[in-house]
């Protein structure tokens, strides 16, 4: 941890520059995804659902769509894409031959993942606003919150990347962790329909559940104590996984 200075900005910037180079391609998913999901689920399926806890179905899933996008943007960046940079392109090796330390390279990747989540969330907001299903101005807080949420998923993803022997074994966390989380984190139906044990388990171990709770309160503009609890959960988990992911990566790369 002691090798961490302002220099993490350099690997971060490298990724930012390449992202901007292909911005047209990169900006499609955050525009298209919410529109497709909203049409299919929000208005298609939602036609059969009157409301969830007094909230129209499209409004109910809108914050979940942002949260899922935040998760995917950083998780897949810091698993597959980071793995490619680390293992195939040897970008990390090239960087640590300069005054940049391995801690800074990894921190740069983590903050880049978080930045990507923030960009995606920022692009989605106007789309959701046009559909009239999110409240302003409280929804604007989604933008800084996406950075924190994104950082959490980056850190978790980087742990998997550090432990994954090949790029194929990264499929396990994608199927076994991301897919169930996508479905059972209070995204498309409220968690309280689940048995109590499942609810508590989900809240204990599924980061997305907490991201959804906070996002939903922000887009609906109704606040409860859950927001604070989830925020504390996310902050603590981010800090823990930030440290672990850097340690694991250092162990893998510095031999």
């Amino acid at each position: 941890m002691f090798g961490l200075t302002y220099r993490f900005i350099k690997p971060w910037r490298r990724n930012m520059v390449t992202f901007i180079k292909t911005w047209k391609l990169n900006f499609i998913p955050p525009f298209l995804e919410p529109v497709l999901y909203l049409l299919a689920l929000g208005f298609g399926l939602g036609g059969f659902i009157e409301s969830v806890d007094g909230v129209p179905y499209a409004n109910f899933i809108a914050p979940a769509l942002v949260s899922i996008s935040v998760m995917n943007a950083s998780f897949f960046e810091c698993t597959y894409t980071s793995f490619v940079r680390m293992y195939y392109l040897k970008t990390f090796d090239a960087m640590i031959s300069t005054p940049i330390s391995i801690e800074e390279v990894i921190a740069g990747e983590l903050f880049w993942g978080a930045t990507r989540s923030t960009i995606y969330a920022t692009i989605m907001l106007p789309v959701l606003l046009i559909f009239g299903i999110i409240k302003m101005p409280s929804s604007l807080l989604i933008i800084p919150f996406a950075f924190l949420g994104g950082l959490l998923f980056s850190c978790i993803a980087m742990c998997f990347t550090a432990l994954s022997p090949t790029i194929d074994t990264l499929n396990y966390p994608s199927f076994l962790f991301i897919t169930p989380m996508f479905l059972f984190s209070g995204t498309f139906f409220p968690m309280d329909v689940l048995p109590l044990v499942v609810q508590y388990t989900a809240l204990a171990i599924l980061p997305l559940a907490h991201v959804v709770i906070i996002s939903r309160e922000l887009t609906l503009g109704v606040y409860s104590i859950s927001l604070l609890a989830s925020l504390i959960w996310i902050l603590a988990a981010t800090l823990i996984f930030f440290v672990i992911s850097i340690k694991l990566m250092k162990k893998r790369l510095i031999i």
Binding site: R14, V17, L89, T91, D93, A94, M95, S97, P99
Partner: protein, 302 residues
């Protein structure tokens, strides 16, 4: 002359395996210093410790008078690295690779652009400036990696097998550049499998095997000391071998032939031709390769 790098009892272990076994060496300012050795000898591991990317297990290694474990940033700031495997950034063009890399050294952008352009010229890649990395040949990539290693005006240049896999033209260009850089006072440390390369470029070399340094010296002196001036080769047959033994001539078996290290070529050749029945005898000047094979053996390394 000032000492740029000094290793004392430098050791690197991976669990039970000793990759570098308490080696000692010194590199002086402006020297071209070569590491030779079969695969698995510990050359690349030694390079990685010097580059401050692989921590030493024990012993001492000082670069520019600074300990590699304590001051990696200060050392890396003044070091250029050409790794064994090209690790150029495929998301950037030729010139962008250099400019991007300069950012890692905190070089101001105007200065970086100037240096990048000069270096592209220097390694003769001016026509390829805007090309993507995939479009470059192996030799061009290697030249670009060399240019990249020069972006921070290093005092010390580390090259791990700089010319492996290159065609003769590309290899000669790299040699020319390294000689030029050395003449400008830059200290160069390289590893190579090519004895000719080592003999041409290096002021001093060490030959490593099994993590240890076997010998150290100038290529010329090593040849003289371990092999002599010339080598006489004759067929590897029982008659010749018994004949040589009868005449008290020492020889080494090299697969298809026997080799005799000698200062007195006419004497030995005459003797073999007259006394031993041999269809062919050849004499040639001894090379570094003979020293290498004598010291590290002919067994294949995996």
């Amino acid at each position: 002359m000032a000492v740029v790098l000094e290793a004392k009892n430098l050791e690197k272990r991976f669990k039970d395996f000793v990759a570098v076994n308490k080696i000692n060496f010194k590199v002086k300012e402006g020297e071209v210093f070569g590491f030779l050795g079969p695969n698995g000898a510990g050359k690349t591991t030694t390079m990685k410790i010097i580059q401050c990317v692989s921590p030493k297990t024990s012993g001492d290694l000082k670069v520019f008078g600074l300990d590699v474990n304590e001051h990696p940033r200060e050392i890396k700031q003044h070091m250029g690295v050409v790794p064994q495997m090209d690790n150029l950034d495929p998301d950037f063009s030729v010139i962008e690779n250099l400019v991007q890399y300069s950012r890692y050294f905190d070089i101001p952008i105007e200065e970086a652009k100037k240096r990048a352009n000069d270096l592209v010229n220097y390694v003769q890649l001016n026509d390829k400036k805007e090309s993507s990395i995939d479009k470059l040949s192996g030799g061009m990539k290697r030249r670009l990696v060399l240019a990249r290693a020069m972006i921070n005006n290093p005092k010390l240049l580390i090259l791990d097998e700089p010319t492996t896999g290159l065609d003769p033209q590309a290899r000669h260009l790299i040699w020319e550049k390294l000689k030029d850089l050395s003449s400008r006072g830059i200290t160069v440390i390289l590893t190579t499998h090519y004895m000719e390369e080592a003999a041409r470029l290096c002021d001093r070399i060490v030959i490593m095997d099994n993590g240890q340094i076997l010998v150290e010296g100038t290529p010329k002196n090593l040849i003289k000391k371990y092999v002599g001036d010339h080598i006489i080769e004759a067929e590897n047959t029982i008659e010749i071998k018994t004949c040589l033994e009868k005449n008290n001539i020492e020889y080494e078996v090299a697969n298809e032939s026997v080799e005799i290290y000698s200062e007195n070529v006419p004497h030995i050749t005459n003797l073999i031709l007259k006394k031993c029945t041999s269809s062919s005898v050849t004499a040639r000047p001894a090379t570094l390769e003979d020293v290498f094979l004598k010291l590290t053996g002919r067994k294949l390394r995996e």
